[in-house]
Symmetry: C2
């Protein structure tokens, strides 16, 4: 496995893979790899001969006061995990390699980024889109993998790729969970014991809402009321940032007649803001 | 020469060129090809085995009330010109092929697009950047050529390509002029006889300003005063939109000590807004 610290180094490694006729799969990450990331890498490896993983904690997607400095960094373990999964190359550049001068260029996706995480994390998705566009241009993969836990991010990236005709196929993988249902996140490690014990309430709440919607036992508003009650009762340390029922394509409020509804939540615990979602198909 | 009307058609033609080991050169245009465009195509052909020209009048870079509908369209002549210059493929898509759905994604370059043409053409450069990003992603060229007449556009595109790590080299070609100095433009055809006879004053004014600067006979302000006087005297039908002396890298006002200064002007004649510039090296 090659580790590229510069754009030219990783491009030359990938060009060799291309020249050997290999298909290029790409999994962009911010490191601190957990089983969710590993499932993306396995999915990529199952479809592509030559898998590239990037490890880059992108400063431009963290707002002022957000957790950029304290975001977990575990590169040695991450590299070992990649090696064990037969990753061909890891791109792990320093910040100056990705942003050698003040970046004047921004890629932004209107409307999809306005609600949910976009509402409380100003500029976050512009930072995500811009860095993902950069990484796709650097790596030039045939396919790239993203996790469903960051549903809004995935929707925005799919739209960016379609709108800008970026020659890559975006693949999504299901959220990986702890045995108690908590969605895996690099930020889970920062939860104190009490918060950790309360955090599974997010998924329980989404499941309860999903049950109401999928069996048409109630409206989106009913589902949200039930879910909110569960979080407020079972996770008093968590402050609900949002809890919504939206159309998975537009991310606008779902109507009572929608056949697919995304239930999504963000909850602020001390030291960690957690997100999760369930995509509900209604019979 | 192949003519592709769809993204998949042009990609498959270009993929064949790539598979044959050819280098891909790209000249994006809005058609109505004149000798300036042809110089770009010749430059591309001199360096690349396989030259792609796009002909697409991009609606998103025209403001409301701008001349999108009346912009000249001369496809038959354009295709003949491309054929005669040994162009391998022309990409001439309908609008619906480039924008099959409302585009939510915008690529924008801060600060470089604020002044000059950006000040009077709101959203123009966002439209330009977004469509050029799309075209570069569709064509995937090794090198792309742009004209110096649109200096600000070229500066913005170079910055976008650098900031987003788009794997292409941007090449610039000098402005091609009529024998009386008027910079070639597809819009020149729309000048009435009197405006046409006055329009060369723009270049004369820039030359006079350049003379003052290059020989250090005066300050940027002196050069602009002289240039303004020439346009106002010799081109009374033209209304000066801007006439500036700027740093060619930042496009911010040049200082008296700058070693390189871009003198640039935009002048509104009845039916046609003309732009021109001279890059002055100071001894």
């Amino acid at each position: 496995m090659k580790v590229g610290r510069t754009i030219s180094a990783i491009r030359s490694v990938i060009a060799q893979g291309r020249a050997d006729g290999k298909s290029i799969g790409f999994v962009p990450t911010m490191g601190a790899l957990h089983a969710g990331h590993l499932s993306l890498i396995r999915a990529a490896r199952a479809e592509c001969d030559f898998v590239v993983v990037s490890i880059f904690v992108n400063p431009t997607q963290f707002g002022p006061g957000a957790d950029y400095a304290s975001y977990p960094r575990t590169e040695e373990t991450d590299l070992a995990a990649c090696e064990s999964l037969d990753v061909a190359a890891v791109f792990a550049p320093p910040v100056e390699e990705m942003y050698p001068r003040p970046g004047l260029t921004t890629v932004s996706v209107d409307s999809l980024g306005d609600g949910l995480c976009g509402a409380s994390r100003e500029g976050h998705f512009d930072g995500v889109c811009t860095v993902v566009a950069k990484l796709l241009n650097i790596v030039g993969p045939d396919k790239a993998w993203f996790g469903m836990k960051d549903f809004q991010q995935a929707a925005i990236i799919k739209r960016m790729v379609a709108d800008l005709n970026i020659p890559v196929t975006i693949e999504l993988c299901p959220t990986v969970r702890e045995s108690d249902g908590l969605a895996l996140s690099s930020r889970n490690a920062r939860l104190d014991e009490q918060s950790r014990s309360q955090a599974p309430a997010i998924y329980q709440a989404l499941q309860a809402g999903s049950d109401i919607l999928s069996k048409r036992k109630g409206s989106p508003a009913d589902a949200l009321t039930k879910a909110r009650l569960i979080i407020e009762t079972a996770a008093p340390l968590g402050k609900i940032d949002y809890l919504v029922a939206v159309d998975p394509n537009t991310l606008q409020d779902a109507s009572a007649t929608s056949s697919e509804i995304l239930l999504a939540a963000a909850v602020e615990f001390p030291n960690a803001r957690l997100i999760d979602n369930i995509l509900v198909k209604r019979r």
